[in-house]
């Protein structure tokens, strides 16, 4: 398959957006939002990772099958996280130590 032609300008824009999001992450770190600090930081990191995969790794320009593989990887990561968190978030629901 031929390499996709992407304008340099696109890369620069994505690069600047990534830098801006990094700056935003740092600044939001100074705001005290309790548990939401983590939520916001992970949300920004997810956007950054998507931009890198989509533009720098060319996932957006690849054949549908390659995109399916990429999304599959993300889904499997989410399976790992979700089922692991079913353990961490339900600990202490029963009135017995360690349960």
């Amino acid at each position: 398959m031929a390499e996709p032609i992407v304008r340099k300008r696109t890369y620069w824009i994505v690069y600047v957006v990534l830098l801006a999001l990094t700056l935003l992450t740092v600044l939001l770190g100074y705001l005290h939002m309790g548990e939401f600090n983590m939520v916001v930081a992970i949300a920004i990191a997810t956007i950054q990772a998507s931009l890198i995969a989509g533009f720098f790794m060319h996932a957006l320009y690849e054949a549908p099958l390659v995109r399916v593989v990429t999304v599959g990887g993300v889904i499997w990561f989410l399976i790992m996280m979700t089922l692991t968190l079913t353990d961490y978030h339900t600990r202490g629901w029963l009135p017995f130590p360690g349960k």
Binding site: G72, M80, L83, T86, T90, W93, L94
Partner: protein
């Protein structure tokens, strides 16, 4: 019965074995068939090293206080047995050998999609193996193959980091192989070879490859974390450093439970070829069997928590994992029922590959059913970390995966070597393996149920009878494994020529000469029949 044999086809091209001789043409080959044989030689070596450790353990356990070794040495023996057998034999066994050899031929291609990556995968595998063996020679590892923290990160004084690095390296070989198979099956099928004309072998290998690619990176990162915490005290799993030891188990089993399917799916692939051929019938419920491979691959990722029921997993999470673990039995049962239904009213013959397939059916069923015991929360608490678990997973990994591997080696040996093995001796060895296996591992179910913990170097006197039975079985099993090694090597030189298709099988790999030419086919084959179309291909098969 032995099927009628056609005179050997006279190949107009030199076969892959005769083409370029010498050590370098083999070590630098990109021919998938030769690479398959490189893997075969390597994993056979690892198998006998791992088997030797097992035999030493069994000899030690002849006496209640232990006959041969100190406690520390015993710990190292079962660890090295597990590490070698899991990562350097079972995981690469069928994919690296039969998968490499057969996938391109079954789809009518000249080679895998990335031949150089394929060769690289073998070198990476061997590098990992050598690093791990070196760690063992330097002093061994005593953590168990599971590397549980905090023992592996904090307390063990053995060569944990070395062994973990070896496995980390070998993991990349798995990823390369999986990626190669996925791309090959997607992109290189011969004209007419649609997805639903593919032999079930390919569906199972495809599902295996998905698991290899999706799970192995998690093992790699987990082992890397163990190494970092052990060497640099980075707090990941150690609570005193801010970590969580149960997190290790979550990450380890996210790989290692699907790894069971990396081992068993390829064996299922082999069985799905053998049973139709020796029943002279298309596989019963092709679509269901094909999709059940994918079902196992997907659901297999959702069940890892059943390894952690007593490790501090929350009750609600344990209930979810228990339910999901029952689910994975469904696609496995679909396969077992459909294989059995394939034999019904078939013209069944009892050649060696079929004996292994029948053995697989029985042993895998016992292994699978006892897996359901372990998915049940109440029973699991009773038998966790006992010999019941040891027996259960050996029924899957040895009774299932190794029987499948041996069945496959016998089935495709005529294609690989161009020679027939001595059928009588081969049947005898299949019988010896079956008897030896059951004598080794069935007593372990009873031992475990009675409360004998795994990984103990000593035990109460009342368990001695069952342990002696198990050791006797292991000795018989050892004979059963050495026999095929001897007669297959013998047949390589002295066996009768096999001909193109000695079993009158339907796959494309049987339409080329034995051994095949370097590029597999003299002309690109065109697939005109569904898989296992014995009726539609009757005339062609009679001429074979």
């Amino acid at each position: 019965m032995t099927t009628p044999q056609a005179p050997p086809a006279a190949p107009s091209h030199i076969d892959y074995l005769s083409e370029r001789q010498g050590i370098w043409p083999w070590l630098l080959t990109t021919d998938h068939k030769r690479i398959g044989l490189l893997y075969t030689a390597s994993i056979t070596g690892f198998f006998f090293i791992g088997g030797f450790f097992a035999l030493l353990m069994r000899l030690h356990l002849l006496e209640p206080k232990g006959a041969l070794f100190g406690l520390e040495t015993y710990n190292k023996l079962f660890t090295m047995h597990g590490i070698i057998m899991v990562w350097f034999f079972l995981i690469p066994s069928i994919p690296g050998t039969l998968g490499n050899f057969l996938i391109p031929m079954m789809i009518g291609a000249k080679d895998l999609a990335f031949p150089k990556l394929n060769l690289a995968s073998w070198y990476v595998f061997m590098t990992g193996g050598i690093v791990t063996l070196y760690s063992m020679l330097r002093g061994g590892v005593d953590t168990g193959w599971t590397f549980y923290v905090p023992f592996s990160t904090t307390y063990s004084t053995a060569y944990v980091a070395g062994a973990a690095i070896g496995i980390f390296i070998a993991g990349f070989s798995s990823i390369m192989t999986g990626l190669n198979f996925i791309v090959t099956i997607h992109r290189m099928r011969a004209p007419g070879m649609t997805w639903f004309r593919m032999p079930i072998f390919l569906w199972s290998m495809y599902a295996t490859s998905l698991v290899l690619v999706l799970a192995t990176p998690v093992l790699a990162i987990t082992l890397l974390m163990v190494i970092f915490e052990r060497l640099f005290r980075v707090g990941i799993f150690d609570p005193s450093l801010g970590g969580d030891p149960v997190l290790f188990q979550h990450m380890f089993w996210f790989y290692s439970h699907p790894a069971v399917y990396i081992m068993i799916l390829p064996a299922m692939a082999v069985i799905s070829e053998i049973i139709p051929t020796f029943s002279r019938k298309p596989i019963f419920g092709y679509t269901a069997v094909a999709y059940s491979s994918l079902g196992i691959a997907v659901v297999g990722f959702l069940v890892w928590g059943h390894h952690m029921f007593v490790a501090g997993l929350s009750v609600y999470s344990a209930m979810a994992f228990s339910f999901l673990s029952y689910l994975v039995a469904i696609p496995s049962a679909i396969k077992v029922f459909n294989w059995t239904a394939t034999m019904v009213k078939g013209s069944v013959s009892w050649d060696t590959p079929m004996l292994y397939a029948i053995g697989f059916l029985g042993l895998f069923t016992i292994g699978g059913m006892t897996g359901l015991f372990l998915a049940a929360l109440g029973i699991d608490v009773h038998v966790t970390d006992t010999y019941f678990v040891v027996a259960h997973f050996h029924y899957i990994m040895v009774g299932g995966a190794v029987m499948g591997y041996l069945g496959g080696v016998h089935y495709w040996w005529p294609k690989i070597s161009g020679k027939m093995y001595p059928e009588g001796l081969a049947r005898l060895s299949a019988l010896i393996v079956f008897i030896g296996f059951n004598l080794t591992f069935f007593p372990q179910f009873i031992l475990g149920y009675l409360g004998m913990p795994r990984r103990y170097a000593a035990y109460p006197d009342e368990f001695q009878f069952l342990h002696v039975l198990s050791t006797a079985g292991a000795t018989i099993l050892g004979v059963g494994y050495i026999l095929p090694l001897c007669y297959l090597i013998w047949s390589w030189k002295y066996g009768k020529p096999a001909g193109r298709n000695p079993w009158r099988a339907t796959g494309l790999e049987w339409q080329t000469s034995s051994p095949p030419p370097s590029h597999n086919f003299e002309v690109t084959p065109v697939c005109t029949h569904p898989a296992y179309d014995f009726e539609g291909m009757k005339e062609e098969l009679e001429l074979a």
